[in-house]
């Protein structure tokens, strides 16, 4: 139970993922390449980042640690932190270490809101702890330095130049318990954010350089494949198949050429079948015709009439077989037809020969079909009802988007489990619907083949109170 539930969840997840995955060849290749590029760039980025970390430790953190430690040791030794000296201009100067100074102030001099360099803070804290030097908070702050920064004027030319080159200044404040805050500042290389942007831009350029040719080649492959798929889908054995243009890479061309060859073979095979059926039809009709002529010499009228009927029935069967076999290549073109008039005409033909067939009045219904074939399908259904039930009621209804022709009777019906089977060619039912002549049931097979060819469906159902409803549903 639990396992099954799990499996279902997993398949659900797979489905969700699949929905967002591109299904086309080009899309999948592009996604794969994009992912691969991304992973490569991410590794690249990681390496660069680590290198920068190491570089920064050497350039910034290590000197800062040295200076802080030195300053603390000075404080502890009771020496003054600031050595009063006079520079060349005669101004008092502070002691210099590594090109900058360390001051002792009473409060944290770093304004809140600046970006902090946590790695530097951590580095200093670790070093001080290792050395056993007492310290409180450690705060850092990064200040951007632009070319015209007014503070630059307060620095020496050499320092100002360095700051400008680095593009930033890192201020470090270390709280010494009982003494105050040691502050120092050091040039700070342009932020990591810059690196990220540079990498992003680089990745984007990669993507463009790789993906554009990829999409181009993908299109070159998929466009001929798409037209091949369209041709295969639209392939109607009855119609003259136009060969698909051979283009794209060699592999694709080979597939298209193979498809064209196959289409030509299918068409040739169907032509052969048609010729064969034509010959069979002719060869079977000729002896039938000879027989039909000869029975005129039979003197007994009843006998002769019965013989003529049998020959007529054989001929109809032959017609049905040939029609069914030829249905894949209908010779009749589809046209706009008034379906109500079509059904009415079929019903009228039955009434003309004295059959009890009724039709409910219906307004004009326009639909596209092959009229002679559809007439035949409707005729076969009505014929079936007339044969087994003695009468038929025909009705046209228009469910949304379609039109339905219903042929109802009050005959013996068909067992529920045989309702589908009667559409199969040459199906015989053991029950009451068996044909009294012991013949074959091709009428329904032919009707179904015609309706399917027209894009519709055909169904049989037993009727409440006995009898059968045959329904042809056609799209509008």
């Amino acid at each position: 139970m639990g396992r099954r539930l799990h499996a279902r969840q997993r398949s659900h997840t797979t489905l969700t993922i699949r929905r967002f995955l591109p299904s086309s060849l080009t899309g999948q290749i592009a996604l794969l390449v994009a992912l691969a590029l991304f992973v490569a760039q991410a590794i690249n980025f990681g390496l660069i980042f680590r290198e920068r970390q190491a570089l920064r430790f050497n350039q910034v953190t290590a000197p800062a640690i040295t200076r802080v430690v030195d300053a603390i040791e000075r404080l502890r030794a009771g020496r003054t932190l600031v050595i009063p000296r006079v520079d060349r201009q005669g101004n008092p100067r502070l002691e210099r270490r590594g090109g900058s100074r360390v001051d002792l102030v009473s409060t944290n001099p770093i304004p809140a809101g600046l970006d902090r360099a946590y790695d530097v803070e951590d580095g200093i804290r670790t070093a001080l702890t290792e050395l056993g030097l007492p310290h409180g908070q450690i705060v850092t702050g990064i200040r951007q330095i632009r070319g015209n920064d007014p503070r630059l004027a307060t620095y020496s030319a050499k320092r100002a130049e360095r700051l400008k080159r680095f593009g930033g200044e890192l201020m470090i404040a270390v709280e010494i318990p009982g003494e105050g805050w040691l502050t120092l500042s050091t040039p700070w290389p342009r932020g990591a954010r810059d690196v990220i942007w540079r990498l992003a831009a680089q990745t984007l350029i990669f993507y463009i350089i790789v993906l554009i040719p990829l999409l181009w080649i993908g299109r070159r492959i998929t466009r001929p494949l798409k037209s091949l798929a369209t041709a295969a889908r639209d392939f109607r054995p009855g119609e003259e198949a136009r060969p698909v243009e051979e283009r794209g890479p060699d592999d694709v061309r080979a597939v298209i050429a193979a498809y064209n060859g196959m289409g030509a073979r299918v068409t040739a095979m169907l032509d052969e079948k048609d010729r064969m059926l034509g010959a069979i039809g002719h060869d079977l009709r000729t002896p039938l015709a000879a027989l039909r002529v000869r029975i005129e010499s039979v003197d007994d009228d009843a006998d002769r009439t019965r013989m003529a009927e049998i020959i007529e029935e054989m001929n109809r069967m032959l017609d049905d077989i040939l029609s069914l076999a030829r249905l894949g290549r209908p010779s009749e073109a589809a046209t706009d037809v008034d379906l109500a008039a079509l059904v009415d005409a079929v019903v009228e033909d039955f009434r003309d020969i004295g059959a009890d067939v009724t039709l409910e009045d219906s307004p004009r219904i326009r639909a596209r079909m092959r009229p002679a074939l559809m007439r035949r399908a409707v005729r076969n259904l009505i014929e079936n009802s007339v044969k087994y039930a003695g009468s038929a009621e025909v009705r046209l209804t228009t469910p949304p988007g379609s039109v339905a022709i219903e042929v109802c009777d009050r005959g013996p019906g068909i067992p529920q489990d045989k309702l589908d089977a009667v559409f199969d060619p040459f199906t015989r039912l053991e029950t009451s619907r068996n044909r009294d002549t012991g013949g074959i049931g091709l009428g329904l097979s032919l009707a179904r083949a015609i309706v399917r060819e027209a894009g519709g469906t055909i169904a049989l159902a037993n009727r409440d109170g006995g009898g059968l409803i045959a329904t042809i549903t056609l799209p509008r």
Partner: protein, 241 residues
């Protein structure tokens, strides 16, 4: 000559099993029958005898029936009835366009063939001039087109309005005789030719059904008008297409 009253038929069919009993039957029916098995023999017989009517099988090895039919039509007024193995529309249309006067589809009833032969011969005797088979071609009248090959009626918008056999025969009789008054008896006679069994209900019934399909208002018909004293007429110009 003792044969002068007996119509002389030329039966052309390569199938001996059909040709021989058919010739026998037609002879019994009072025709003089000459039978041949191919088109070449038929040509020589046509020159040698005064043939009144040719019965011609379409499907023959060598020169086929259609080609022979074209030859007969080009050189004489001798009427032709085609025997066709296929009931397919194209064969029928082609045959009638080749100038055949009528056709029967195999397997046909010899009685029906004999009846057709008599109708064609009577027509020849009465009119003298051969009448073009009405079934070849299309007729346009007041926005409608009756296509005889496909047996369909097409409206202004190109929508096909299927007709029952009875309706079709009645409409064909009317459009081939526009503005003529046709009595019920005449119409019955004209429409029974093709499928005799399919037409024994009253003409009036067929007319009213046809009106429902083609008239703007079936209650006050403008196309198929009732003529006082019995009969109907098609009150429209008809153009043969």
């Amino acid at each position: 000559m003792d044969m002068s009253d007996t119509p002389h038929l030329l039966l052309v069919d390569d199938e001996r099993s059909i040709r021989e009993p058919l010739a026998q039957y037609l002879t019994k029916q009072g025709f003089r029958v000459t039978q041949v098995g191919d088109a070449e023999a038929a040509r020589t017989r046509l020159q040698a005898y005064a043939i009144d009517l040719v019965i011609l099988d379409i499907m023959m090895p060598g020169e086929d029936g259609l080609s022979l039919c074209r030859h007969i039509r080009a050189t004489s007024e001798t009427p032709v009835i085609l025997l066709t193995a296929k009931s397919e529309e194209t064969d029928r249309i082609v045959g009638l366009e080749m100038g055949a006067d009528d056709y029967v589809v195999k397997p046909f009833s010899p009685r029906e063939l004999a009846a057709r032969i008599r109708v064609v011969l009577r027509r020849m005797a009465a009119g003298g001039a051969r009448q073009h088979a009405p079934e070849a071609g299309s007729y346009a009248f007041s926005g409608w087109v009756l296509k005889t090959g496909e047996r369909s009626l097409v409206d202004r918008e190109g929508v096909s309005v299927p007709l029952s056999t009875g309706e079709y025969n009645l409409l064909l009789a009317l459009v081939t005789r526009p503005r003529q008054v046709l009595t019920r008896d005449q119409l019955l006679d004209l429409t029974q030719g093709r499928e005799a069994a399919a037409f024994d209900r009253a003409i009036d019934n067929q007319v009213s059904r046809l009106r429902k399909k083609i008239e703007v208002d079936a209650k006050s018909p403008e196309l198929i008008k009732t003529v006082w004293g019995g009969g109907y007429t098609l009150a429209s110009e008809v153009t043969r297409l």
